[in-house]
Symmetry: C2
Subunit: 320 residues, 2 copies
DNA sequence: CTGTTAGCGCCTTCAT
DNA sequence: ATGAAGGCGCTAACAG
């Protein structure tokens, strides 16, 4: 790799002039400007970003630590994030970490000059971090200033309302252990019931379920008395586990039981499409990039991010 | 962030001594060693990797450009790669790029001092790159020295043999346009037929299919005469598109038609599990990391990577 | 054993 | 308009 010295020598000017030409060339004689450009082209010179980083004290690298349990959930995040970051000449440095210690370890490794800022996404365990350049996205227990959180109560309320509007008044709910949002979800769930003058049945609700399978079995064992006709689960992944089990018990989806995902739908080919709350990843990415570039407005933590209600289009079921 | 100067000042030694203590401290008086360590701890000092990189001319960053069409395919790659890379203190710099120009653009941006080496994964378009520090993984037309390629002919042959062993002698095949491996796959397919003394029926094979849907329709329209009972498709994604369409035509899978994926199975919950050729990602990651760290053995291009035959365990169908 | 010196490649004053 | 010099934070060679 050729350096600025090579260029300056070949062009017969000083390093300073080369630098000037390459960064907003103003106050440079046209002749030397051309000489520099020619030398640059000849040597195929590209300024070393590391040296620039050392000087500017910023690398343009954003560390992204994916703490989500199931990786498929993160894929769409990553794709959208990378798109927005690269549009702003920022680089995405990827890390996976499923436990608190793993996250902290990754944080340590990334946070020693390599990354300007760090995103932690989808952690389902408490994470007492309070660094200025770290922002938590969809993590639990983030009283931190820098965080983007989802409005799970609102999601649950919307979901209930939708289900009720579809004639489903016996709504069961399973939240896996350690989701971290059980109380918020329960709040929204209860709100919706209250507003619709429906009673709250404790036996329909499984918060902190060790196994969603077992919770489902318990629901099914009491199906005769509970008589539930809708089931809210945490995310698409859960839903796709649950649905075959319902079918195995001769419950058709959605006719007998409508399954609703509170955490987005993957919409992969081959899997049944179900109604869901879909969090606007694009909008989130925009908010993140804004914060990364502006750094002034701390509009991150001010308001919870609300998802959209996604309803499967039955007509398009078979099409691509 | 505190620098080595702060530490040396606080510890009352020179920068050099600090550096010595932190990197394989030998030949340092115990007293000053402890003083340095104390100062380091007090200031919470961590050496700036950028400055180190400038000196060592290597950043420990590996650029990974995902050129796969469908992102879900890349997720498992990324996860495994990141695991192996971070174990070797290397960082994964992620980029998505679906077109040749996008890949070249990303390459340009990553290849100016930021990344030591760059991986391009799953490009389905020709990519005439010949840089020492770039390695192509599962890309088409990689006569390049640095590449890991999959043995698609072997995969097709294995697939056919398996299908024939299952009593499926009328094997259809759909390869999407621009997969880049159509000829290799065809080779393996023909080999298997020959070795089993089966005739080759041109109408069963769709290479360079603009739309796999249309190809399937053509197959189904001629189902009476073709009478096919197996169908090989490029990957799981294709398979999950195809299967509902088969079912819509009252063909049951796998009873009437066994669908086989030549490019791995995602094994997501909710989607039917089908037989497939599964490429050993872990082994691939090991090979890649070996090359990145050793750089000596060019065992990358020497042999094609062969996949394993994956057969769904029917008994476990309903379990997690 | 330890401090001084000289750069890694770049950019930014400060003179000229 | 342009060159020389200094320094970003660190390490390696060279003296002591």
């Amino acid at each position: 790799m050729s350096t600025i010295n090579d260029v300056s020598r070949l062009a017969g000017v000083s390093k300073a002039t080369v630098s000037r030409v390459l960064s907003g060339s103003r106050g440079v004689k046209e002749a030397s400007r051309l000489a520099v450009l020619k030398a640059v082209d000849e040597l195929n010179y590209r300024p070393n970003v590391i040296a620039q980083s050392l000087l500017s004290q910023s690398t343009g690298c954003i560390g992204v630590i994916c703490a989500h349990e199931n990786i498929n959930q993160t894929t769409s995040y990553l794709y959208v994030l990378e798109k927005h970051l690269s549009q702003h000449q920022k680089h995405l440095l990827l890390r996976f970490a499923n436990t608190k210690s793993a996250v902290l370890h990754a944080l340590e490794e990334l946070n020693c000059g390599l990354c300007d800022d760090i995103l932690i996404i989808g952690a389902r365990f408490p994470l007492d971090i309070d660094q200025e350049n770290v922002i938590l996205v969809d993590c639990m227990e983030a009283e931190n200033v820098n965080s983007i959180q989802f409005d799970h109560a609102f999601a649950a309320e919307t979901a209930c309302n939708y289900l009720i509007s579809q004639g489903r008044r016996q709504i069961a709910m399973i939240q896996p252990q350690g989701s971290g949002f059980a109380d918020q979800v329960l709040l929204g769930y209860k709100h919706a019931l209250e507003k619709n003058f429906l009673p709250f049945n404790r036996n329909l609700v499984f918060l902190e379920a060790t196994s969603s399978s077992v919770a489902l079995q318990e629901l099914l064992n009491n199906a005769a008395t509970l008589n539930f006709n809708a089931l809210m689960v945490a995310d698409e992944h859960e839903a796709q586990h649950i649905i075959p089990q319902l079918q195995a018990f001769n419950k058709s989806v959605p006719d007998d039981i409508m399954v609703f995902s509170l955490g987005g739908s993957l919409q992969l080919p081959g899997v049944p499409v179900i109604p869901a709350i879909e969090y606007p990843i694009e909008a989130m990415a925009v908010r993140i990039v804004n914060w990364l570039t502006e750094k002034t407005q701390d509009m991150l933590g001010t308001q919870l991010m609300r998802g959209d209600l996604f309803i499967p289009d039955v007509r398009r079921k078979a099409s691509r």
